[in-house]
Every structure is written in structure tokens, then in C-alpha cells.
């Protein structure tokens, strides 16, 4: 999931989104659009500031943010601490590989299939895993993801341990191909924005309220007559499918897929980013991803031991903002949590 590049433009505006809520209510409503506009303009503005190099970085941040947003949905809203989310990213990525290997070249077909197949995998894995709770759920999702990892390692036709290179980019179709060098960036941005908007909307629906109810008091939800298992499974499948979509996009972004994309450390990293940003907060996932990846890139410029300061940052967050950075910003803004 992680590949080298540097410093993104996306973290600062997101952070400001929460801060300005209280003092400038009008601005607060417009800020997501402002962020979106800035991100959309970035590839056009970047050359003027000599930042072309970072367009790819922001694109990666956006893709990882898609996956993190889906994880935030089941972790933060659904209370399901899944430690196998990278497994679904991997299923999505390998679906793209399989289709390319079979001779298909449509990007939409590949990414759509990535989401579909990952959703099916999530349905099978969730059906079993969601019969457990707490630590057992963490362990069983981890185990399933590792099984997928070793499956990918053993699949010689798709590169096995060495990975699989996607040498020709997938075709977007119509006028999109060749319209601009950065057209893939805008496609990713549009998908990320749509996913973010969709999950934000679902959070306030009946389903979103029910999911939070299950997180807060599962036994009471059962007593109220909610089909808790089915509700959780639906969320798990949706999150898996979106993670698969992110995996498909990541395959295109890297033009390469290897089993390491779904190693359990990637699942853990995704969890860390969501917690850092704020699990169960609307802006938690994109904030966490942007902050973590940006810091990682910046620190890499100065030291080979960049894990150290990131670890310290994590400790700081755990002790001073256990609800994540988004919660901290909301509090600073003097505003109740935007859940």
C-alpha cells in the first residue's frame, strides 16, 4: 500500500474543516467543497509550484483514504475492530490482476469487479467472523486475511511472491483516455469524494443509527428487536466491497500488485490511521490517512529511522486525544462531535 513520494496538500484543509466550524458556521458548511476544489485544482497548480512529484502522492492518500473510510464505517460506527481489512484491498487488487491476465482492459469493469469480488469475500468471511466478539473477532479477521495473503503468495500465475506488473494502464474509455496526463487522479478524487459523501449520508440514516446502537449496546439492540447479526454483516460487506474498490485503484496506481498489499501489518496500519484521525468521526479516516502518510513522507526526507517519531506521535495521540485528531479539532472548535 505504501510507496515513496512526498508531502501532500490534503491534510491541512481537512484539519481546518473542523476548526472553523464554530467560528464561521457558513464557512464550515462550504469547507468540504473548498477542500474538494483545492484537491481538484491541485494537478493543474502543482507544476507552477514545482510540486508535480506530489500529485501521485495525493492520489495515493486519496486511495488509502477510501479504504480507511470503509474501515472507519465498521470500526467507528459499527464497533467491529476488523484486523483484516487489507485482505479485502488485496482481493480487489488481485481481481484487477486476474482480469488483466485474462485479457480485459476496461478500468471500470476491473474496479467494479474488484468491489464485487471483495464484497463477496467479505460476505463469506463476515458470516463466520461476526459470530464472534471482541478479541476473537480481531483474531479471526486477522486469520482470514493471512489466509488470503498466503493464497496470493502461492498463486504462481499471478506472480506469487514476486508480484505482478500491470504494464499497460487500464482503459477509462470514451474521451477520458489521453484527455490529460492526470485524468486518473481526477477519477480517484471523484470516487473518493463519492465514497466519503455516501458513508457520511448513511451515518445519519436509519441504518447508521442502528449500527451505532449496536456499537454502544448490542444486547439492548437485540432486546429492541433488531436483527443485529444481519445489520452488522451488511455493514461488513459494504466496507469490504469499498476496500476492494480501493484495492483495484491501488493496483492501477502502483501498476503493480504483490501479496504484501494484504499483509496483516497493512491491516494494522489502516487501523492505526483511522484511530489517529478519530474512529467514528466523519473526518476521522481522511484526516488520519493524510496526517500519517504526510508525516511519513516528510520524516523519510530527514531520517531512515522515521518509525520513531511516528511511534511517539501515536503515543501522544493515545494519551492526549484518545478519540483521535478529528475529535480534538472538534473540541477546539467548541463544537459537539459531528458523528
Amino acid at each position: 500500500m505504501l510507496e515513496p513520494t512526498s508531502q501532500g496538500a490534503s491534510s491541512a484543509p481537512c484539519a481546518a474543516a473542523a476548526v472553523t466550524h464554530a467560528r464561521f458556521p457558513g464557512l464550515a458548511r462550504r469547507l468540504p467543497w473548498l477542500v474538494l476544489a483545492l484537491l481538484a485544482a491541485f494537478p493543474l497548480l502543482a507544476p507552477a509550484f514545482g510540486l508535480e512529484y506530489y500529485v501521485g502522492f495525493v492520489r495515493r492518500v486519496l486511495i488509502v483514504a477510501i479504504a480507511a473510510t470503509s474501515l472507519n464505517f465498521i470500526l467507528g460506527y459499527g464497533g467491529m475492530a476488523a484486523l483484516g481489512h487489507a485482505g479485502f484491498i488485496g482481493v480487489g487488487a488481485y481481481t484487477v490482476v486476474a482480469l488483466v491476465e485474462a485479457g480485459f482492459s476496461s478500468a471500470w469493469l476491473a474496479w467494479g469487479s474488484a468491489a464485487l469480488v471483495a464484497g463477496l469475500a467479505a460476505a463469506a468471511i463476515g458470516a463466520v467472523s461476526l459470530r464472534t466478539r471482541g478479541v476473537y473477532f480481531i483474531m479471526i479477521t486477522l486469520a482470514f486475511a493471512q489466509m488470503l495473503y498466503y493464497l496470493a503468495v502461492s498463486l504462481r500465475t499471478w506472480g506469487g511472491d514476486d508480484g505482478y506488473g500491470l504494464y499497460t494502464p487500464l482503459e477509462l474509455g470514451a474521451w477520458l483516455d489521453g484527455a490529460h496526463a492526470q485524468v486518473f487522479y481526477w477519477v480517484v478524487l471523484a470516487i473518493a469524494a463519492a465514497v466519503f459523501a455516501l458513508f457520511s449520508r448513511v451515518a445519519h440514516s436509519r441504518y447508521g443509527h442502528a449500527l451505532r446502537g449496536i456499537r454502544d449496546n448490542e444486547m439492548r439492540m437485540v432486546a429492541l428487536g433488531y436483527p443485529v447479526y444481519g445489520l452488522k454483516l451488511a455493514g461488513f460487506v459494504a466496507a469490504g466491497a469499498v476496500a476492494g474498490l480501493a484495492g483495484g485503484l491501488l493496483a492501477s496506481h502502483n501498476a503493480f500488485v504483490s501479496p504484501s498489499i494484504m499483509h496483516w501489518t497493512q491491516s494494522a496500519l489502516l487501523l492505526v490511521m483511522v484511530m489517529l484521525g478519530g474512529a467514528g468521526r466523519r473526518w476521522g479516516a481522511p484526516l488520519g490517512v493524510a496526517l500519517w502518510l504526510t508525516l511519513e513522507e516528510v520524516l523519510k526526507l530527514y531520517t531512515d529511522y522515521w518509525h520513531w517519531p511516528l511511534g511517539l506521535l501515536l503515543l501522544l495521540v493515545v494519551f492526549h486525544a484518545p478519540q483521535g485528531v478529528a475529535a480534538l479539532l472538534e473540541r477546539r472548535g467548541g463544537r459537539e462531535g459531528a458523528r
Binding site: R206, H209, G213, D216, R220, A223, G225, L231
Partner: protein
Amino acid sequence: MSLFTAEGLVKRFGGLLATDHVDLAVDAGEIHALIGPNGAGKSTLVNLISGLLPADAGRIVLDGVDLTVLAPHARTRAGLARCFQITSVFRNDSVRDNLLLAVQAQAGSSFRCLSRRDAEHALQERAEALAQRAGLAEVLERNAGTLPHGLQKRLDLALALAARPKLLLLDEPMAGMGPEDSQQMVGLIRSLRRETAILLIEHDMDAVFQLADRISVLVYGKVLTSGDAAHVKGHAEVQAVYLGTEVAT
């Protein structure tokens, strides 16, 4: 013909027979109290009936529907709602959100995921009506966790009422209450008589004798006797194992 019957309910925890072939019946409109000393298996029985614990044997029928094979949430849908001995509300949400969540469970699908729930007027109205009913109208916007104990208990009851139950299981609704709150709760429960039958588990004997049409006494997982207040008060064995000197005086 009773509205609700439990026949031959058995629950074992290892070597312990927590529920020993219990038969129980509740008629429509009846308040049936279940009393018994600590450890008699009252809460186990409530959990067996509501389905949170699987029974080892026995059969549960509500209004002609066999609940035995149904999952706990399906039992609620079939008309069996419950309260919890240890107050079980959504502590970080407002009373309104608590009630909305309870009402929503009974009004169409909770898989609806695109329209804003809080904009549904029918749900809001039902939630407000419930609040009125349970005396919570004044604290609608307060966080449930910040309410005094008595009000939290009432909220717990209101959540169960949202299911429009045919039978309501109340597991110690007066637990930890002072006399004043307790008396209000008695009034509230009495007012429910016309809507639902009630199986009331309670330690507060004053409340039980005020409310119950029939009382069953549970000792060591077995129903010792069943009858009206006078019968139970006069029952020699009940006096010995449970009421002791309190009634004798």
C-alpha cells in the same frame, strides 16, 4: 387459555440446575409477579424467556406463537419485550435518540440507508408520545447517561414499550430506587395494564403486593407456589424460605 405459557423450562450451568422444570402462565391484562430470594434463578428465567440464554428444555408460547425456536430479536418482534435489571440504555445519546432507536426497530426496515432518519416525522411523533407516556417529556434532549437513576429506569421501560409488546418482562424495575421514584414507577406500571400483560420480577414487596394479580414464588429454580397475594402471604413454606418474619409480624 393464557396469553403466555412457559412449560417445563430447564437450564443447567454445569452441575447447577438453575431452572428446574418451570411452568408459568400469564393471562391477558394480568400482572404476574415472580418473587424469590437471591439466587433463586429469577434473572435466568427472564433470560430464558427473552432468549438471551438458550434453554436446555421446555417450550414458550406467546399468543399462539411458539417462541422457543425464535432468536431473541425475533421474540421481540413477536410481541415479547423486556427491561433490564441493570439499566440498559444508550448512555451517550439523548433521550430522544434513545426513543427514536427503539421506535425505529418497529417501524419498517432498519436497512434503509440513504434518507435522514431524524427527518421522519412519524418516528419523531412516536418517540415524543412515548416520552410523554413515561414521564420523560421534559428531559428529551438530555443525555441518557446524565439522568438520575429513576429516570433512567423509566427510559429503560419506555424503550421496551416501543415494541408495543403483548407481554412485557420487567426485571426489577424498582431496583435501587428510593420510595418516591418507586411509587411513581408503580403508577406507571399500573397504567400499562390495559396495553400489555406483565411479568414482573421484583424484590420490593410493597410494590409487588400493590401491583400483582398473581404471584409465583421461585426457590432454587423451582416454582414453589403460585397464587394471589393472600395465598402467597399465607403459604407456610413461602414464609419460611422467603418472607420470613416480615409477614409474620
